[in-house]
């Protein structure tokens, strides 16, 4: 009985959490436009969440592109379809690998640090003192970070996709010795913007929203203690990654 009650309480908490998160994100988005100083903060945040993530995304994309090319080549070769390696890689990258892996990396790098940053601000009463100066932290702190995250994740995903293709082209051309003209033309003919590229980008917008909601929620509502901040950063990474994978499945199933 105790156990069932505990599960019930957890479920209620989770539902309340989703409600609070939705409220926070909605308010953050609306109030973002209330203050024109937010645009300046937005640029700063885009540079933190976007530009500073480029090295991590580039490194990951190159290696994933290269490894995936070798692996697919081995399989395709046994069917005598080695020249299709570019197309196979392209489809996987644009539809799945790009949006999902970028989102997972993003949760770890950007989501966790946003949670920690907000948590620290809360612990040191910076939100309270902002409010005492008649400045709304949801507008000035939550808003710009939310918008920056929703903008930067799709851009980083596009960047990941292209770098992964370059990594793949390098392995296919230089190491495996496939004709690079065939590689690119197969890619160009086989991948369709509306059915392969666009759905991937759409997913990454949703992932951006999910990661932003999770990380801002844990930062803004989380326990305002040092150990609470540490735990909440971990929660952001765990829950953010899980939700990305779950929603990936749901979106793919729906878009079929």
């Amino acid at each position: 009985m105790k156990k069932i009650e505990a599960i019930g309480a957890k479920a209620l908490n989770a539902i309340a959490g989703v409600g609070k998160g939705a409220w926070l994100v909605l308010n953050g988005f609306i109030l973002f436009f209330n203050n024109k100083r937010n645009w300046q903060t937005l640029i700063h945040q885009i540079s933190f969440a976007g530009i500073m993530s480029l090295p991590l995304i580039a490194m990951s994309a190159v290696f994933i592109g290269m490894v995936f090319t070798i692996q697919s080549y081995w399989v395709l070769e046994s069917f005598g379809a080695a020249s299709e390696v570019g197309l196979v890689l392209g489809l996987s990258v644009f539809r799945e690998l790009g949006p999902v892996i970028t989102a997972l990396l993003y949760t770890g790098r950007v989501g966790s640090s946003i949670t920690a940053e907000l948590g620290l601000m809360k612990t040191s009463e910076q939100f309270a003192s902002m409010e005492l100066m008649s400045v709304d932290p949801i507008s000035r702190i939550v808003g710009p970070r939310l918008v920056a995250m929703v903008i930067t994740l799709p851009l980083l995903t596009m960047f990941f996709n292209w770098v992964a293709l370059l990594g793949s082209a390098f392995v296919a051309g230089k190491l495996i010795g496939l004709d690079s003209g065939t590689f690119w033309s197969n890619l160009k003919n086989g991948i369709l913007f509306y059915s392969d590229v666009l759905p991937g980008l759409f997913k990454s917008v949703i992932f951006g929203l999910i990661i932003a909601s999770v990380s801002l929620y844990h930062g803004y509502f989380g326990d305002a203690t040092p150990s609470g901040v540490a735990k909440n950063s971990t929660r952001t990474v765990v829950q953010g990654s899980m939700l990305v994978l779950i929603f990936d499945y749901i979106l793919v199933a729906l878009m079929r």
């Binding site: 040191s124 910076q126 309270a128 003192s129 005492l132 100066m133 709304d136």
Partner: protein
Amino acid sequence: MLNKYRSSEVKKPGPITLENVTFSRSGRKILDNISISIPSGKIIAIMGPSGTGKSTLMKLMTGELKPDVGSVMFNGKNIPDLSSRSLYEYRKEIGVMLQSNALFNELSVFENVAFPLREHFELKEDFLQSLVKLKLEKVGLRNACDLIPSELSGGMARRVSLARAIVRDPSIMFYDEPFTGQDPITRWVLLELIRRLHTTLNMTSVLVSHQVEMMTQLADVVYILSEGKIISSGTPKAVFKDKNPLVRKFVDGYSDGSKDMIHHPGQSLVEDLFK
């Protein structure tokens, strides 16, 4: 001098009146049916042992916390009932120096002090520069303006927080232990600063402090808070002579050593050690 950019004209703010205020935290009553008034234009000191709820009382007056029971009236309105918009309006009239400083850790000293001005007024950069530098000069930190909070000593951070609280020339100032971490000379300089601000801007000042000697000089009214109740109030002279043993204990220091220190409520030392 600065009326140009003040939202309202310089006028005496109304009094703040707390009536039958009770406030609990984690099931424990911290303030128990307290009624006090903060008359306008006066310097009010809230004193009392550590952990009795002085900061809590101040947070009720700034609208940061809401009482369980009772009202906190200002200009005919109950502060806990205000919508967030009206609360922000009220807070444009007040300046608060929190006990924890709450400086923005990513901004320089200068930008911390400039923050409320940048947020609320469109000032020319050179005018803003001189306003902020003037305030920093008053707290003796003009040359520290490029440091970030993590590079400050405890006492310096306190003074930055003070400069930020007064930068908008509020009509009510709340200071939570403004003198902690200051050397004796700085302490008296700050006291003079608080007094001068108070008289030139015609404001109401509420201070939390332990400094009996300084409050004798500065305060018009003293409230002594102990175990959730006001145990004495009046002019500093009268209060500091009060025969009430709890008041004596606070004013004369805890002369009997830790035995008389006011502890967090709970079991006695003997119970705790030999259970």
